[in-house]
């Protein structure tokens, strides 16, 4: 019975995942895939989306006074390169 219950939950979980993916693909059929340009031309926004969103939702606003410190902290956490740190700083505190 326990094995059956767990299998049923596994099936439900898989269905939930599949429905979520399919549903959103249907909602945005025409949305173009963003193609990452070479690293040299990578924008701060792309660096933000590629790294910060891996773990958490983005803050709506960061005080310009602390943006540099936040990005320094994120560089150590997300293991960003110095170039990415600088582009991110320009993006968040232009």
């Amino acid at each position: 019975m326990k094995r059956f219950s767990f299998s049923a939950v596994l099936v439900l979980w898989s269905m939930f995942f599949a429905v979520a993916v399919i549903n959103c693909q249907q909602q945005n059929p025409a949305k173009p895939q963003t193609v990452s340009p070479p690293v040299k031309g990578k924008s701060g926004e792309q660096i933000f989306n590629d790294n910060c969103l891996r773990c958490h939702t983005p803050p709506m606003a960061i005080s310009p006074r602390i943006t540099g410190t936040v990005i320094m902290h994120m560089r150590t956490r997300a293991r960003l390169s110095q170039e990415d740190q600088q582009r991110l700083l320009k993006y968040l505190a232009p």
Binding site: A20, V35, R54, P59, V70, R77, R79
Partner: protein
């Protein structure tokens, strides 16, 4: 500056209610452009009824320094950290533990693997990005921790590392962690993990498998936000979460791991009032030969971020 998170969670595990308020301030002090002092302290309350299910709530607040380290941003590809640091084992301990980040408030069963004894190490760590190209980047971490029994600085003698490759276009990360526990019995622990956030869908999929002397297990978690669905604006702030996990003890389990096979499923429903304030709820069912149990969580989380000193007037 001060950053961090705060939360209040009301938990019912097997019919026993617990109130878990907590606040985790992170202190960040930069020294020039190459040095950063960072530290996180946790104040966690644990309040249960006197007779578990009846009587007044009683408990205490636990204080702990989760980490306190100095980072030296040496080079574009190299960061040196020294002090008490979070053990970079798997994807959970270092990245998903903060209350405002985690999608489900209960930690995975395997979170105890590779994080003995306190989740942190005392010593030094090298980390950074080894290779970066338009299509992928490779990140690395290597560390050594000395044994310490000093209050608030407890750590085990360990050495290990982590490396992951991140594919830019599909936003897919695959990584592996290794740790050798170097006191009492020498133990090897390995974790493999995957993280995927597709570009076209607000889906967050994470999974981790852990292997150690005391047991092996895995967890898979998916979180989906309604922001693209054709629903009223208020409903687009909803996030659904599902996680399943299994754990199988080896050599009797122990060391904060279950001693019998354990299976667990959790379903969560979160609501983002703002990007920094979130209502959280979840229901889980735990299956083991020691008894099955329902686990409920209801609460709220808050992320804060503000300067340490008042701004100058111009």
């Amino acid at each position: 500056m001060i950053a961090g998170g705060a939360a209040y969670v009301y938990n019912v595990n097997g019919g026993v209610p617990t109130q878990l308020p907590q606040i985790n301030p992170v202190l960040l002090v930069p020294f020039g452009s190459h040095f950063l002092l960072e530290s996180r302290t946790s104040f966690t309350g644990f309040f249960q009824r006197e007779n578990q299910t009846s009587g007044p709530y009683k408990g205490k607040v636990f204080k702990s320094v989760d980490y306190a380290q100095v980072d030296w941003l040496l080079d574009s590809h190299l960061i040196f950290s020294a002090g008490k640091y979070i053990l970079p084992f798997g994807i959970y301990n270092e990245r998903l533990v903060p209350v405002w980040i985690r999608n489900l408030q209960d930690s995975p069963i395997t979170a105890a693997i590779g994080t003995r004894n306190s989740g942190a190490g005392d010593g030094f760590m090298f980390r950074g990005v080894a290779v970066q190209s338009p299509r992928y980047s490779v990140q690395y971490t290597a560390y050594f921790s000395a044994r310490s029994d000093i209050n608030q600085l407890e750590a085990a003698r360990t050495a290990g590392g982590d490396t992951s490759i991140y594919f830019t276009q599909p936003r897919l990360e695959v990584g592996v962690s290794y740790q050798r526990f170097l006191q009492q019995r020498n133990i090897n622990s390995v974790a493999t993990y995957i993280s995927w956030q597709p570009r076209t869908t607000p889906l967050d999929l994470k999974a981790e498998g852990d292997f150690s002397y005391n047991g092996r297990g895995y967890w898979i978690e998916s979180a989906y936000r309604f922001q693209q669905l054709p629903v009223p604006q208020f409903a687009r702030r909803i996030q659904t979460v599902a996680r399943m996990q299994q754990f199988f003890p080896l050599h009797g389990g122990g060391n904060s791991l279950p001693t019998v096979d354990n299976h667990r499923v959790d379903f969560g429903l979160n609501y983002y009032i703002r990007d920094d304030i979130r209502l959280v709820s979840s229901y889980g069912r735990s299956f083991s030969s020691q008894g099955n149990a329902n686990v409920w969580n209801v609460g709220a989380t808050y992320r804060f971020l503000f300067p340490l000193w008042p701004g100058r007037h111009k």
